[in-house]
Symmetry: C2
Subunit: 319 residues, 2 copies
DNA sequence: TTGTAGGCGTTATCAC
DNA sequence: GTGATAACGCCTACAA
């Protein structure tokens, strides 16, 4: 009874006496024998494992993105290893370094600068999401915010809004939301004054305090674009506590297209990102990188999901 | 220049000329050399990887549970490999089989019976969550629904509710929610008639249609316990479309303690499960199993999270 | 149908 | 400080 015969039985090859095989399998079961994944991988290195690193598994933005990554990976029979730093961004390099030893490629939605990433992973194929490329070797899946923001501005203007504000989150990797909003409104002859944009942290609490501040700094706003849906959720709270009705006294637009927006009252109009597709594209980028190719950056577009938090301003609008 | 010297340089051992090391690292970088994780694992098999299998990454129940698993795994320097069947429960055995070849132990929140699981994984250490043990070798993290349901019943009775109904989901692995509700109400002299319990599928749509059916079958209910928060969300929709106010016309209690309940209007009273702790306990169970021990089943308890969807019934209650 | 030989990439041991 | 050798557990190729 050699290694080889055992191998044949375990792997269900032909060329083996059924009786021998039966006996081997029986013994194997008794011994709770399991083939070593390491030895297997060593000999058949066609097993691809990719790592997915995100900020915070509890952030409702990510589940859909993860689903996209996993389904695309599954189509390729890849394995996905997920990790997070749970909002502790300082740990990103350390996590990347450790993950780099366990996977064939990495996909990340990160805060760390590309230079820092590159240093941590030392040449491992890497795909960064949600921001433009900085490092030439990296794959990219970026979000083109322009169509969505443009649609939102058009939508608000069509409804008669003249004073639009924004709650921005400058710590996020994406500086474009604000910029595109400014351009789009300016192009329509309705430039947004500086005081109509406030900055806050990216959270519900941030949204709450920011809207209060915004309405004080720029009285008369009839519509506000929030940096994302979670921030918009905070804005709802403040609007309610100030006795403002949505959308009559204040129209609100979110960003991300999270399903939580649907259960708000009224449901939140939001600029939608196809998060699942982002995940799928990231896997495709990783595949190119693994094949030694240099894929052009991928982009997902954005569009406006009109729900009920926008509408024409009522006569005597807020202050 | 031998393997060995290279190994010393890469792993930063002592006993090497700094200059030699520098040269090696330089060349390694140029060649984009990366050590094989398989060969490493083969020689130093102290790398533990566990697999986590869940239904559906988009189900808001899971992120917290995942966070618990990951943080507990991280404490032990374990790696977590996540996989889902995205609600296609028939694929569970296949997925388990494939995962079994890549990890040292598995944790799952599954529909498949334990016998089916056991067959798929052939002796791999396994922890099942959210239901009582069926297979003697498995680790278990179960939920004790009794305290939470009891507290909910006490709470409703104290508020003067006399007619309580339930929306149940029999496809779920947990048959106890209904049973405990029946026992708890009966013990207080308020048995629930059969028509005051309807069954539906575990989803928002299920909750919507079920509440409509329930109110027809058992007119006069003033409070309803939903199988979980997502089902309760559906019930909110139906209540609103019927013109019923919550909690005045109808009190609603959910199950799970999801944060989405907080943003409902009114915020949803719910029986809370410590999902993060479930994840942590599951990892602890896996650790015991890996050490060859046979841990006693772990249990998380439940409690009532009182928010605003419960209150005293108004005078002329619903029908 | 079964067994033998060799090598996958890494680390540990021990001799140089 | 460095290099040769063996071993980890598996698979492929070929010989018996």
């Amino acid at each position: 009874m050699s290694h080889q015969t055992v191998s044949r039985a375990i792997n269900d090859k032909g060329e083996i006496d059924p009786e021998t095989r039966r006996r081997i399998l029986e013994v194997a079961q008794q011994l709770r024998y399991r083939p070593s994944r390491f030895a297997r991988g060593l000999v058949r290195p066609d097993t691809t494992t990719i790592g997915l690193v995100i900020d915070d598994i509890l952030n409702p933005f990510f589940p859909e993105l993860i689903a996209g990554v996993m389904s695309a990976a599954e189509q390729r029979s890849w394995t996905v290893l997920i990790s997070t730093v749970q909002n502790d961004h300082g740990r990103e390099p350390e996590l990347l370094r450790s993950l780099a030893g366990q996977v064939d490629a990495l996909i990340g939605y990160l805060y760390e600068r590309d230079a820092g990433i590159a240093e941590a992973i030392e040449g491992l194929p890497m795909v960064v999401m949600g921001r433009p490329a900085q490092h030439p070797a990296f794959g990219v899946v970026d979000v083109d915010v322009r169509p969505g923001v443009q649609a939102a501005v058009d939508h608000l203007l069509a409804q008669g809004h003249q004073r639009i504000g924004m709650i921005d989150c400058p710590t996020a990797c994406d500086p474009l939301r604000r910029q595109v909003l400014l351009e789009a409104t300016a192009a329509q002859g309705l430039p947004i004054p500086a005081e109509a944009i406030v900055e806050t942290e990216q959270s519900q609490a941030g949204g709450e305090e920011a809207l209060a501040r915004l309405l004080k700094a720029a009285p008369g706003l009839t519509a506000v674009l929030a940096f994302n849906d979670v921030v918009a959720l905070g804005a709802y709270r403040t609007a309610r506590s100030l006795g403002l009705t949505i959308p009559g006294d204040l129209a609100l637009v979110g960003f991300d297209g999270l399903s939580l927006g649907e259960i708000l009252d009224p449901p939140l109009t939001t600029i939608n990102i196809d998060k699942r597709r982002m995940g799928e594209l990231a896997v495709a980028q990783a595949e190119c990188l693994l094949n030694g190719e240099h894929p052009p950056p991928a982009t997902v577009t954005t569009d406006l999901l009109v729900r009920a938090s926008t509408g024409s301003p009522s006569a005597g609008a807020s202050g």
